[in-house]
Amino acid sequence: MSPQFTSPPNSDAHSSPSSSSSLISSASDRRLSALVRHLAAEESSPMDSLSASPTAARADSVFAHVVQGPEDPILGVTVAYNKDQSPNKVNLGVGAYRTEEGKPLVLNVVRKAEQKLVNDMSRVKEYLPIVGLAEFNKLSARLILGADSPPVQENRVTTVQCLSGTGSLRVGGEFLARHYQERTIYIPTPTWGNHTKVFTLAGLSVKNYRYYDPATRGLNFQGLLEDLGSAPAGAVVLLHACAHNPTGVDPTLEQWEQIRQLMRSRALLPFFDSAYQGFASGSLDADAQSVRRFAADGGELLVAQSYAKNMGLYGERVGALSIVLKTSEVATKVESQLKLVIRPMYSNPPIHGASIVATILKDRDLFNEWTIELKAMADRIISMRHQLFDSLRAKGTPGDWSHIIKQIGMFTFTGLNPEQVAFMTKEYHIYMTSDGRISMAGLSSRTVPHLTEAIHAAVTRLA
């Protein structure tokens, strides 16, 4: 009864099965020749038998020419930090929240949700559908758009679960490259380092629009309007929904309204990256205003959501791509095409993180608990901003540091240049990206003085 390694009937078939011609007349002859070759090969060195053949097997790898890839600029910072032995080292690189004690944080509400899931014996780990967990999708759309949002009410949003923000952007980008007539996406200068790679590999061409003004360390609103105003009609525009990464500079609500009007008048397609909802101001609704204004005007948009930061689910890779369409008929067709992008990429998304999110979002108590924990994280970051600002002012560090408290979200664009950054890393073991971005989440009351020292030294010694 063991079928495994007996020869299938075919190898003893009396009729030649293949339509292509063969010099060997039967399967058993072929087997005999193979055995003879193997025996012969064992007597000589392997290399002899290889080189004897004119189409010799390559002795070297087909990938021998592959050179070492560069370290990821952001994730590479943590790699360098981990290698550093200094007790004074501070990691202000990657945007992962840390407590006052400098520890990663798993939200209480997440632990509760996980426990619920583990204890539920009826749960299985079967494949999710290609579009992911349905409940999660519905709740995610509501979270970003608002339950009373017209597209939600009118059932003209399609939502697919993706691998956090990155995955949502990539799936959205691939969809646009295949089905949208304008293959150009405009991204702000500067933006998260991975945006360009994501959209390029998705098949879009990437252009920039002015965003950050180094002189004011604020928004270059005129430049933004000019650049979007001269983009080709229909072009895709990437917008950070709130807490712009890396600058922390967000448009005001009035500015958002102007942006919306300009974009709609030029039929520019908005693609929101929402990685910090609730994390910026502490309010989920306030942080979603930019997206909701666009969603309310009857137009279409894409939005990539991530739960990495606001639910602390980083490594679980939980996110969603929602596309607001004109009609529910179009939404259905679009969903079917999104599935064709996803299936050859990873078939279906991971179940664990999305289950945690759904558990929390659908339970009133857990949801409320979450908003409280979220506000606490946002408040701690705001408090760090004030502490750093006050500390620099107290020290008399040259320069205007008010941008530290004007900017919002996890990151501050300090305005420090790469030389100053390198100096701070070398002399003070401060780890940050070379564009001068610091993750406020990595600061604590304990480390603010050390950072102040380092900035002061960098600014006074290297102008």
Binding site: P9, S16, S22, A56, L269, L325, S336, Y346
Partner: protein
């Protein structure tokens, strides 16, 4: 402010500051349903009490229920609430990858010791194949991929989306419902030197037809002679024979023969971790330096796709494989699953023979793994679905995991009905 006012004045004459009146997406056509996953959708929608799902390849116990392995439940208990959820590195969990490579290459493999394997955690088998296809496109842009006929349908989608041109090679022999060995060997010989071949390491999907050990040796020889690259998709290690070492035999033959292979591994079936999306892509390199370079480039492809892979699934895997007792439990449970399937193959064949079927059903027990390529036509399959509420893919592939002592009689009867006049 003046400039922005001007912009609005320019556009306000024609503008409606609300929406465009038409959608951008009018030309978007509804996509065809996925042939495999669409079957389960249809099954779920069927109200019939007799319905049987032998479509998608997810294991079921003898009551037709999905299974969470005991070793997995225990690992979950240990894992829950203990660790944080920080980002993994782009290449995933080092611990999980190490354990996974041991399964494929051997516990004491010299390649592991010499650090010659470039490996990253992947999004199950699909993700591993896709990463490899993207890597192949980037670093061997002139290469093709040779894919067996038939194969898992998504293989074609993966390499197509990676923009690697595809060719096929003979594999399944319909007349014997076995291996077209001569055709396979000829295709290997006729392919231009240095071609890339996709091979199923064990339990070929969808046919269940695997080469014998001898045949694998010859395949290895011929592939080597032409300097081809062998990429193994191993989605069923342990699931085929019940013994993971045995199921890795083809890979071990190729390693012994000196090939520098690539492997996609998945824990979806053999650990029942389907929805967790846990897998591994590995490439055997000439030396450690090359392995480091290749790994760094694989990471460059993962970063713009999903940044870093999920943390939960690999925790379960490394908890199990890192604990001798849990690992032994796992091995017993995998064998249990494989044995049940082998038992169902026997039962199905015997039932059909007892019904006096005019056709030979030997292939049911000759084939191995989760799937049986029944040889039924699409029309016969449609009858099975429409008349008997039996769900399977139209290529006649039966997922043996969906067969139980409770439904095997019904299934045999239905198959007999639609094939007896064939």
């Amino acid at each position: 402010m003046a400039l922005s006012t001007k912009l609005f004045q320019r556009s306000s004459s024609t503008a409606v500051f609300g929406a465009r009146s038409m959608s951008w997406w009018r030309s978007v056509q509804p996509a065809p349903k996925d042939p495999i996953l669409g079957v389960t959708e249809a099954f779920l929608a069927d109200p019939s009490p007799n319905k049987v799902n032998v479509g998608v390849g997810a294991y079921r116990d003898d009551n037709g229920k999905p299974v969470v392995l005991e070793c997995v439940r225990e690992a979950e208990r240990r894992v829950a609430g203990k660790l944080n959820m920080e980002y993994l590195p782009m290449g995933g969990s080092v611990k999980m990858v190490e354990e996974t490579l041991k399964l494929a290459y051997g516990e004491t493999s010299e390649f592991l010791k010499d650090k010659r394997i470039a490996a990253v955690q992947s999004l199950s088998g699909t993700g591993a194949c896709r990463l490899f296809a993207d890597f192949q496109k980037r670093f061997r842009p002139d290469s093709n991929i040779y894919i067996p006929v038939p194969t898992w349908a998504n293989h074609h989608n993966i390499w197509r989306d990676a923009q690697v041109p595809q060719r096929t090679f003979h594999y399944y022999h319909p007349e014997t419902k076995g291996l077209d060995f001569a055709g396979l060997i000829d295709d290997i010989k006729n392919a231009p030197s240095g071609s890339f071949f996709l091979l199923h390491a064990c339990a070929h999907n969808p046919t269940g037809v695997d080469p014998s050990e001898e045949q694998w040796k010859e395949i290895s020889y011929e592939i080597k002679g032409k300097g081809h690259f062998a990429f193994f998709d191993m989605a069923y290690q342990g699931f085929a024979s019940g013994d993971p070492e045995r199921d890795a035999k083809a890979i071990r033959i190729f390693l012994k023969d000196g090939h520098l292979i690539g492997i996609s591994q998945s824990y979806a079936k053999n650990m029942g971790l389907y929805g967790q999306r846990v897998g591994c892509l590995s490439l055997l390199c000439e030396d450690e330096k090359q392995a480091v370079a290749v790994k760094s480039q694989l990471q460059q492809l993962a970063r713009p796709m999903y940044s870093n892979p999920p943390v939960h699934g690999p925790l379960i895997v490394s908890t199990i494989l890192g604990d001798p007792d849990l690992k032994n439990l796992w091995l017993r449970e995998v064998k249990g699953m494989a044995d049940r399937i082998i038992g169902m193959r026997t039962a199905l064949r015997e039932n059909l023979e007892k019904l006096g079927s005019p056709i030979s059903w030997e292939h049911i027990t000759n084939q191995i793994g989760m799937f049986c390529y029944s040889g039924m036509t699409p029309e016969q399959v449609d009858r099975l679905t429409n008349e008997f509420h039996i769900y399977l893919t139209r290529n006649g592939r039966i997922s043996m995991a969906g067969v139980t002592t409770g439904n095997v009689g019904y299934l045999a009867n239905a198959i007999h009905e639609v094939t007896k006049s064939a």
